[in-house]
Symmetry: C3
Subunit: 244 residues, 3 copies
């Protein structure tokens, strides 16, 4: 059983975060809220999302799984105006999600969850941790975009740097410690990542938000941020590209 209502913005944010990596996802419902793990088809990146029932206006749920076509849900949510409340209800007999926005009732077939695997999110210990504004992250990505398909994330004790090296050109965007919200680092670390993945993940962070970055040496990067006024949390993990 699943029956809830939420602000359209909260649901749009979930779709933005998850659709960055997958087209369809399995949402795990229980009495406390919603959780989800997904890995992209190329197995380069993962997302782990949790949303407490407090993120909703109303929430009633028994343990169940909903396989959702994210593009379809995005289309439906476009019917909602800012501040609109969206009602969601699982029709178990027909395996449909019933979405109500104002006078609109939309019945959407759910996707078979048997085909959607539950990825194991590895527990990686990363030596460097920093926190910054999503805008800064996205600005650094934008600076790299015309130079290379890859972006290097570098941190030392007193700065965080995003840099790219092209055939003829190069760029770096260096934030000294005082431009970061926080930085904990025991020494220099550097890892290289595919720019498109890193860019898509960063764009899914609502502007105005803060993001935590965990970084190592030729290790995955972890991006963490809150959604739904702190009632939800997202972890992205992105595999590094080993430099030749």
């Amino acid at each position: 059983m699943f029956k809830s209502s939420a602000k359209a913005e909260v649901l749009k944010q979930i779709v933005d975060v998850v659709s960055t990596l997958v087209d369809e996802a399995k949402f795990n419902i229980d009495s406390e809220g919603i959780s989800l793990k997904a890995v992209d088809p190329a197995h380069v990146a993962m997302v782990e999302l949790s949303l407490r029932k407090e993120a909703f206006e109303e929430f009633e749920g028994d343990e169940t799984e909903l396989g959702i076509d994210l593009e379809k849900l995005r289309e439906i949510l476009k019917l909602a105006h800012t501040g609109d409340i969206v009602r969601l209800e699982h029709n178990e007999d027909k395996n449909q999600l019933i979405v109500k926005i104002g006078n609109v009732t939309r019945r959407m077939s759910l996707v078979d969850t048997a085909g959607i695997s539950d990825p194991k999110v590895p527990n990686i210990d990363l030596p460097t941790t920093m926190r910054l504004k999503a805008e800064e992250l996205n600005y650094g990505i934008r600076a790299s975009e015309s130079v290379s398909d890859h972006i290097a994330l570098v941190a030392d004790q007193d700065y965080f740097e995003m840099s790219s090296e092209g055939d003829s050109d190069s760029v770096d965007f260096r934030l000294p410690k005082d431009k970061l919200i926080s930085l904990e680092s025991k020494g220099k670390v550097r890892s290289l990542f595919p720019l498109d993945y890193f860019s898509n993940m960063s764009k899914a962070i609502a502007s105005g938000n803060e993001v935590s970055i965990n970084l190592g040496n030729n290790y995955p990067v972890k991006l963490e941020f809150d959604i739904a006024d702190g009632n939800g949390h997202v972890k992205y993990l992105l595999a590094p590209r080993v430099e030749s």
Copy 2:
């Protein structure tokens, strides 16, 4: 003879309304104003438009026909800013329409009206009549767009509903009587229509306007609305798709 001037907005609205169904149209001029009837190339929909001379700032006309390429006229009207007055004059010798906007003079060849037939608009008696805001109509169409190529219009004594049924999904947008401006219905009626035609017609209604819908059971739908501050009137007729 035809010589007139009008607010650019009035002329733009005419182009929007008629170009929904045809690329070229025959405008019938007489001393009282302009009228036009047109049917789309697939003979699925019709438009009937009348514009009293009061819709114009100045109007002088003898009985004559002007064959107008609507896309060309739309391009020209883009030169007008909001509130601009557009002068129109028929040059009979060269069969041109002379359009003046500010310091611009545009001479546009007219289309031969011999090839443009005058469709007979059937006089259909439809049992259900309602009136609503153009925004509501367009919202219901938008809700249907990702579900199916068809839209069912349903009305009963206490509601009007727009619904679509896809292979796996469905949607309905139901307006109870108190959300409508008026509703006169003796019982349930339902007809199915091609969504693209219905959508294009509805989009031609200026937002903020009201529209009357006349509906029957597996019968054409009639949309009626005013233009030019009530000095003009439009009727659209759209054939139903018989459900199998």
Copy 3:
């Protein structure tokens, strides 16, 4: 040696003006500022640009040439917000231009200037001179756009006219002398130009600016305007199309 800083808007304007005709350009630096001459690949149009060191916040330069890929520089300048100061520095060893915007450092390879010729800008004496707002020029171009690929510029003692003649349609935009800032003409002149070139040149003039037009009979047209608050000057020269 070249080292300077300037408002992003000034550099963006230079890129807009020059990229209208060429993808890469040779910027001549000396202690007084920057100058540039370029001809488009089809040898139909020329640009001559000069920028005094007063256009910059800081300026230090010895005689040198910089070959710049304009599209690349445009991309970099998109990172600057309104009012941002952009630092430029020539790294002679690596033949790179180092561009700094806030915390971003972008190193851009320069283009070999050996392949970029210095066109001779002919000194043409044109009998008619007028001055008008860039908006008026662009409005007249817009009026011509759907009619023909060419635009005729016509001036007499009391008006300036832009007109186009298509197969079936024609348009003219006539500005009487009192709608111009100034007009000096000894008699009627008329020349025909390719609309795309003339349009691109005119669009490169920042709106709100004034432009001088020098015109003759079947002769090139010269457009002149200031940039960088009067600390820079641009001359465009466009060859006429001889009418058959």
